[in-house]
Amino acid sequence: MRATTELDRLGLDGGGHLIVARALAPLRPGDQVVVAGTHPALRVQLMAWCRTQGHGYTDSDPPVVTKGPAGGQRWHGAIRAGAGEGPPLAQADQRWGLAARGALVEAGGPALGAQWADRDHVWADIAPRLYAAAAAAQWDPATAVDWSSATALPADVEQAVVTVMTYLVENEQAALIIPARLLGQIHPHFREVMQLLAAQAADEARHVEVFSRRGMLSGGPLGTSAVSGRASLQTLLTESDFTTAGFLLSVLGEGTFLDLLRFLHTHAPDPVTAAVTRLALRDEARHVAFGVAHTAHAVHADRSYLGRLRQAVERRHTALLSTAGLGSDVFDALVLLAAGSWEPSAISRGWQAVQDLQRAMDEGRRRRLAYIGFPADEAAVLSALHTRNFM
C-alpha cells in the first residue's frame, strides 16, 4: 500500500514529522508514504528522521518513507491497567506501575512494589463519592473563620480553650501522619482511596492550623502536652496494616472525636472556637465514614478480620495500661467550658455534660463496631477498652 502526504513548505524542524507520522500510523510495516513538500531541506531532514524512527527511506523526488516495525513492536505484550470506568479490579498488577487506571501499559520497566494491591485491603464502594464530597468541601482557614470575631474571655475560660486546642493539635498531627503514610503504599489503581486519604491529610493540616491559631489568639503561649496523651497517639503510628490502622484511627479515634468536637461546638465560649470545631467536625465525619465503610468491606470479604481488629484494640489497651489516659487538665477544661462559670451549680452541670459526652462517645463506638460486624456484647467490651485519651 502506498499513501501520499503533503507538507507544503513545512519542514521536519517545524513539526512536519507529525504529519508524516500521522500518515504512517494506519499503515502496516512495509507500506509506503510519498512525502510531498517544498521545504529546501526536506530530504535531508526526512532521511535523518526515518533513521531515528526505524523507518526505511528512499531518496527519490519526492522521497518515500517505508514504515518500519518498531512502532508496533513497542506495544507487543502491552496490557490495559484495568478499565477507566467502573469499579477497580480485585487485584492490581504491580507491573502497571504508576500508569493511569485504564491506560495501555507498555511491557517492561520496574514493578511498583505497592504494599496494598488487593482491592479488599483498601477499598470501600463509597470512596469515590466521599472523595467528591471532600474535594467540594475544602475550605480556606484564612477566610472560613472570621478571626476578627474573637471576644475577650475571662482568663480561666480562655485558658480552658487554650488547653483543649493544644490537645487537639497533638491529636490532629497524628491523624495527619497516618493517612499520609498509608497512601504511599496503596496501589494507584485504587486511586479514589489514595485521593481520599490525600484529602484527609490536607483536612488535618488545616485542623492543625486553625486549632493552633485559636490556641494562640489571645497572645499567650499554648498549653501542655502530657506523656499519657502522646504515648496513646504514638501507638497509632506503629500500626502497619492498612485496615487496622484505619480502624483504630478513623473508626474508634476520629469516631470518638465527632462527639468531642460536637461538644466543643455546643459549649464554645466564643465564635472562633465555635467555627473551628464546626469546620473540623464536618471533615472528620467524612474520615469516619470511610473508616467504617472500608472496615466493614474488609470484614465482609474476610470475616476473620474481626479477630485481628479485636486483637489490635486489646494490644493497644495493654500497651496503655501503665499510662494515665486523658490528662486531667483537658478533662477539667471540658467541664469548665460546659459549665460556663465557677458557680457550683454550673460546675455540676458541666461535670454532668462531660459524663454525658463520654456516654455518647461509648454509644457511638458501639454503634460503629456493630455496623462493622461485631456482636453487641463484644462491641461493648471493645468500646470500653478504647483509650481514655479519646483518639
Partner: protein
Amino acid sequence: MSELLLGAVAYDPKVVTIWDGFQTWLRDQDLGFDYVLYSNYDRQVEQLVGGQIDLAWNSPLAWVRASLLAGAAGVGLSPIVMRDTDCDLRSVVVVRDDSPAQTVQDLRGKVVATGALDSPQATLLPLSLLHAAGIQAGRDVQVRRFDIGVGLHGDHIGGERAAARALAAGEVDAACMIDSNLLLFAREGVLPAGQTRIIAQTQPYDHCTMTAGPAADLDLVARFQQLLLGMSYADPQLRPLLELEGLKEWRPARLSGYGQLERAVEETGFYDAAGNPGARDHGA
C-alpha cells in the same frame, strides 16, 4: 573461562546501564561476556589491536584508526554488527537564513564552527567536504572549533550544540553538524525552524561499528553476532537498552560507508599510515 571481553567508551553514564543490561541478557543466553570502559577511543583501539580486549564498540574514526593499526601490526580485524541508525548519515553545513552565502564557495574568508577536533560528523567530514570544493581550512576559511569531549570522537554532543549556538548568536558564519542533530537543535530551540539554511551536505556515510580483534575466539564472536542480530525491539527487557543505545535493530556490519572518513583522515594527516596520531589543528 571462555568469554568475550568488550571495550566501550564511557562518553555518558548511560553506557554503564547499557552494557550491564546487555551483559545480563547475553549471559542469560549462555554467552560468557564481560566489558571494560575506556575514557577515550585511542586506548580502546590500541588494546583491541593489541589483543587485550576481544571486541570494541568503535566510533567510525576508531574503526579507521583500528584498521590502520592492524594493518601496520599485520593482524586482522572483523567488523561484526552496527546499529540501524549507524547507516547512511549525512553531515550538513548550515548558515543563518539571512546569510548571503548560497554555496560553500561563499564561505571564503568567513568563520566556520565545527565540533571537537576528533568529531567525524561535525569536524572531519564537513571540513573534507569543503576541501573537496577547494576550500582549505585555515587558508580559505577560519575554523572555530568547539573542543568539548575530545577523545570521544564526537559522541559528546556538546561541541555540535556549542557550534549551533555560536551560529544562532551571529558569532560565526556557518556551523557543521550531523543531520539528526539539526532536527534536535530545532526542537530544543537552539536553531529555530526557518532561521537556518543548509548550504552543503555530505554523501551518506556510516557511523559506529562493532569490531572483533585478533584475540577473539571466532566461535564466540559468531555467537555474539548471532545474538545481537536476534535482539528484538519487541522484547521488553531489551527495548529500554536498545533505546538508550539509540537503535531499533542491529544489522550486519558493512565497510562501504567509511571511504569519506578515510579520505578526511588522509587529507588532514589526522593519523599517519600506521595509525599514529598526526596533525590535529584543522587550520583553527
